[in-house]
């Protein structure tokens, strides 16, 4: 197996891109990554996307985007794992290079969500959950997460206000990320006042509907040493049931536990070795559950990390360092690639005011559904 390196990164700002179509956004991110890598062509493109069929009337993004990016003739396809699609595409890209079947591989996450009416988007997002046993009962995706948050508060005696720290941290970090969707600080008082969406999840617990594209360029490490920006130390996927009621324990993300432990084993590292953790803060409750599953806090104590400032840029385990899903934004199929792009920025000292000092090991974790697919990557500095 060949070691895999990241040799280029690119991203578009996250936001409401009404003036650009899906293919243009993807092309912008791919072009930026190819320029960053100093390459003019590639062997393959793997596109991470969840909802182009439902929201854009367009499947077949592999060929569409490769051709529009001037790469006619190469290998291309789309990879989907709900909101974990971006990291799933990265996983395929890593296998592609590691196997020796391709050398220069592009991984592009893309989602264009803001062109569809809100009720269409809500239905589309619910395709991440179990249609026959959950969605058919009328629950939305945010509703499922609300059930988890309510259970967490009940079981551990945690107040809703205890979750404020996740949102405050994410919005503070996004202030100085030019590619973030939101550039507005959020106070604990504002969090407490925010309108309820699905009790107990309020507007400031929730990541936004938005558009965005991000891209990384992969290559075999031994042949691209001088251009290597980061090394892939671990890549691990694990699944759980889609339906939350069918889990062993709804408050333990088993797939995140398995995926994290596999990743630590591959990289021969433990949680104390991780300098920053780009986790999947689609909702505040997912931040708490992810921190626990990945070994940064005992069961029921994830939320305390946010209360005690340990998730800030100078804390014990910085998360959402460029704003996270909450404030950078969550263009669902693109998110997993944004996380990796931001991790590479941290490892190469390009995170500007958001730099985590001395970061040489970064972990990213992208989640599909409410914990059904969990994909963990650990990246190392050169």
């Amino acid at each position: 197996m060949r070691e895999v390196a990241i040799i280029g990164i690119g991203q578009t700002p996250v936001g409401e891109h009404w003036e650009k179509s899906l293919r243009h956004l993807a092309h912008d991110a791919i072009g930026a990554a190819m320029r960053d890598a100093g390459i003019e062509t590639a062997d393959a493109l793997y596109v991470g996307n969840m909802l182009s069929g439902e929201l854009n009337g367009q499947e077949h993004l592999g060929a569409l985007i490769a051709d529009f990016s001037g790469l006619r003739g190469i290998e291309a396809m789309k990879v989907e794992a709900a909101c974990g699609s971006g990291a799933a595409a990265l996983r395929v890209g890593i296998m592609s290079v590691a196997s020796g079947l391709n050398d220069i591989v592009l991984v592009c996450g893309i989602e264009k969500m803001t062109d569809a009416p809100g009720h269409v988007t809500t239905s589309a997002l619910a395709t991440a959950a179990d249609q026959e046993y959950e969605v058919s009962q009328g629950i939305s995706f945010v509703g499922l997460n609300a059930l988890l948050m309510r259970r967490y508060m009940h079981e551990y005696g945690v107040s809703k206000e205890a979750f404020a720290g996740f949102t405050v941290n994410a919005h503070r970090n996004a202030l100085t990320n030019p590619n973030a969707m939101f550039h507005s600080a959020v106070s604990e008082a504002a969090y407490a006042r925010a309108g309820m969406i699905a009790d107990p999840i309020n507007l400031l617990d929730s990541s936004p509907v938005c558009d965005g594209a991000a891209c990384v360029v992969l290559a075999p490490a031994d042949r691209y040493r001088s251009r290597t920006q980061a090394r892939i130390l671990a890549s691990a996927v694990a699944i759980d049931s889609l339906a939350v009621h069918d889990r062993r324990d709804p408050l333990v993300l088993d797939a995140a536990v398995i995926s994290s432990q596999k990743a630590y084993a591959q990289a021969r590292l433990t949680p104390v070795d991780i300098h920053l953790f780009e986790l999947h803060d689609a909702f505040s409750i997912m931040s708490a559950l992810s921190l626990e599953a990945a070994g940064f806090a005992p069961r029921g104590a994830g939320v305390q990390l946010a209360q005690h400032g340990e998730i800030s840029l100078t804390g014990r385990i910085p998360i959402s360092t460029m704003g996270g899903l909450k404030a950078r934004g969550h263009p669902v199929g693109a998110t997993g690639v944004y996380q990796v792009v931001e991790a590479v920025m941290q490892l190469t000292g390009r995170a500007g005011p958001n730099q985590v000092g001395g970061a040489t090991v970064a972990m990213t974790q992208n989640i599909g559904g409410s914990g059904a697919t969990v994909i963990t990557h650990i990246l190392g500095a050169v």
Copy 2:
């Protein structure tokens, strides 16, 4: 890079499975393949599927199907390349094993099309084409293929009747395939009388809307010699523009040319070495164009192979040996895996009355859109 072997195959009958949901169909195929391989678990599952979001309100098939098949905790994701999704998933499975990142890998193609109303299915299938430059003009996917067939007839002076041989051959072979959707012989006279769908494509030029699932089990060849049913000799993907008007030449499937030539080079074979060719006969015109692009006939002469009996089970290059997309059926995202399952049946002498005598090398070619993604595999007998 590790050599990859197929150690098990499974399939459901193709048809209208109103009594089974998507997850049940997939589970049936996976269970059959795992029993055939003599395995009880797997490291990963890659699902080939095109339209579950549009037609079944369900994305996230990787985790859904892995969990429903008793494989909670493993790696899983969905791969999509329009009607080429099945072979795209196989491609990912091959990379997964070849890289050494996984050992036992399941590749399942699944599509459940018959639960949705016809106009929804027609719109969903059109997501394989270019939404902004083709579909927005009002053309359907069959309409695009009709333009290609009309152009072929005009440019080469070929009559519509000349295409009958493809349909006659496919339906004849399906008669003795218990998993085929249609068990009815079609005469040239019946073909000539068939109702027009999109002139010049009639009902008997067209593959049917249907349900089905197929599965293959992959493993590293060196560790599973005694269980190997077929060896992967080549795997190659190439893309072209989605939009037909944007092609270099609409009557040359450039992606099929590139994909075939890559595959021949990998296997160190030429067209004369291929004993059977499971091609993508979604419409008769695609059979003609594929035979030409893959090197079995010169430009404009593909249709003559059908006229002269060279595509029959005892002909020079047998195609659609178990009925093909036309008569076995075309559950779109599953088709590419059905092709490979049938090729393995031929290489292991399990094709019954449909056996191609002495077959030791088989080629499969799965196409997304009207030639935008082309994925070619060459399989060798043990």
